[in-house]
């Protein structure tokens, strides 16, 4: 079992991205890194997962501190991230209804919605996940 949002989960997610032909093709021109912020409901802590994405490949992931900068920062509650991983919540709908917040170049992300969908598909493909 791998804990959702952990360093090990990040590595397996990265591997799924690199194995996905659909993601590789959809994101073949993408250049930009992300920090996914999972906020715990009690507000006491958060997990920040850095994902380095480049031309359809994942070049690495890491759990980082709040000082780590990235081109895009996507934040949401841990429970909503779990819903995304279980295919119970469409993350784009989540962004549009305020369940997630996104910081970064909006014009760039709007041109890469297909890549975003394939990226989320890879989130859901990580196996044996403990939530």
């Amino acid at each position: 079992m791998v804990k959702f949002g952990s360093e090990e989960w990040g590595k397996q997610f990265c591997q799924k991205l690199n194995e996905s032909e659909a993601y590789n093709k959809a994101a073949e021109t993408w250049e930009g890194d992300f920090v996914f912020v999972m906020e715990f409901e009690d507000g006491t802590k958060e997990v920040r997962l850095y994902v380095d994405l480049w031309h359809g490949k994942c070049r690495g992931t890491a759990i980082v501190g709040s000082d780590k900068e990235a081109e895009f920062i996507m934040s949401g509650s841990y429970s909503n991230w779990v819903k995304v991983a279980k295919k119970e919540l469409d993350p784009i709908q989540g962004l549009m209804t305020g369940k997630f917040k996104l910081e970064g170049d909006m014009a760039k992300i709007m041109r890469a919605t297909k890549a975003a969908v394939e990226l989320v598909n890879c989130v859901t493909e990580v196996e044996n996940v403990e939530f």
Partner: protein, 391 residues
């Protein structure tokens, strides 16, 4: 969790008289030269003058409006400082009005930042009123803005729930004199909105109701409106159908007929309604072939809107595709991109660009199954040659 977004609707014969009741001091009308020649700008201006509202007209909106045009309109609007912006025309004028409203309300932001993921606090300086003069676009009730990036030869899709109009005036006086070809192309656009809105992954119980009714109205009235432009019952039904379809797909999403249509329109500059309408039966065939869920939904739409009695989903969905092709033919709409006077040479020369733009279009990401680039290649080849996908 999802939202239903809609402006206040004023509809029916004489709906434009609503402008005599509104409060304000300065109105900025975003339109094009054709609307002035047809006397529509004068009609609207006279109504506003009864409310003692001063008017300034920006009539430079072109078909497939460019980012440059709306930025120019935004500058003029910002100098004028209106408390009402009116979009008067087809989708180009109304989408330009939304973009100009954004520039005026948020002068420190780039137009490209208009996104559904950000809160802007719009409509603080002015109200937005949309008056459609064609019956198809639905832009009077949607919160998307489609502009053309002239340099990159592609459509730029911007969106924000906050950009939706405060009021939409649906008066059949405006589309009454549309020529048959424009009646057909805009009506087919409405049909495409209704059908794609019904099968979108973001469909919901409210959008379903709108899409079913709009599909029914288009099938019952479009051919009549094309063949007898003086049939005002058909005209009014089509005008309402377009707005109802706009409410449907605007609260779910358009699909890959729009991805393909946006792409073809940006490269070859052909009427939007025909660009999406040509693609419609092919994408329906593709989706029916690719997965069970769309097949069930098309069958259900056919039963609900057109009283198709067939119980088998595949057969019922095929009947709906056949009826779409029959309607296209009956209204004189093209059934292939070749029929839209796009040469084989020109199409082949731009093929990779057209496929790539459709693949990147945001309507693609809300379609299931989501087509690959190879799927788009097959779809474009079929739609160019007019060869149905085998079901």
């Amino acid at each position: 969790m999802w939202y239903w977004n809609a402006p206040k609707l004023v509809f029916g014969d004489g709906a434009v008289d609503y402008l005599e009741q509104i409060k304000g001091t300065k109105a900025f009308i975003v339109t094009d030269e054709v609307m002035e020649k047809l006397g529509f700008v004068e009609i609207v201006s006279k109504k506003l003058s009864k409310s003692k509202i001063e008017v300034k007209v920006f009539n430079e909106v072109e078909p497939d409006p460019s980012v440059q045009t709306v930025k120019k309109g935004g500058e003029i609007c910002s100098e004028y400082k209106p408390d009402i912006i009116i979009g008067l025309g087809g989708g180009s004028a109304m989408d330009s009005a939304k973009a100009i409203d954004f520039i005026y309300e948020q002068p420190d932001m780039k137009l490209e930042d208009l996104s559904p993921f950000v809160s802007f606090k719009l409509h603080q300086k002015c109200k937005l009123i949309q008056i459609p003069t064609t019956s198809g676009t639905g832009a009077e009730v949607t919160w998307a803005v489609v502009l053309t990036d002239v340099k990159e030869r592609r459509k730029l899709l911007l969106a924000s729930r906050e950009i939706i109009a405060d009021v939409a005036i649906i008066d059949p006086i405006f589309p009454a004199k549309m020529p048959p070809s424009l009646t057909a192309s805009t009506g087919i656009d409405a049909l495409t909105h209704a059908i794609e809105g019904y099968v979108s992954i973001w469909r919901n119980i409210y959008s379903d109701a709108m899409c079913i009714k709009a599909t029914q109205l288009v099938f019952e009235n479009l051919e009549k409106a094309v063949k007898n432009g003086s049939d005002m019952v058909a005209r009014e039904n089509m005008h309402n159908a377009a707005t109802i379809a706009g409410l449907g797909f605007g609260n779910s999403q358009a699909g890959i007929a729009h991805s393909m249509g946006h792409s073809v329109g940006a490269v070859f500059h052909k009427p939007h309604g025909f660009c999406v309408g040509v693609a419609l039966p092919y994408i329906m065939e593709y989706e029916i072939l690719a997965a069970d869920e769309p097949k069930k939904m098309f069958a259900e739409l056919g039963r609900q809107a057109l009283a198709i009695e067939e119980k088998d989903d595949l057969k019922a969905s095929k009947i709906l595709v056949k009826k779409v092709r029959e309607l296209l033919k009956a209204t004189g709409a093209p059934l292939s991109y070749r029929e839209m006077e796009i040469s084989s040479e020109d199409f082949e020369k731009n093929f990779d660009l057209v496929v790539a733009n459709a693949d990147m279009d945001s309507c693609t990401s809300t379609t299931r199954p989501m087509p690959s680039k190879e799927d788009f290649q097959k779809l474009f080849k079929a739609a160019f040659d007019g060869k149905a996908l085998t079901l």
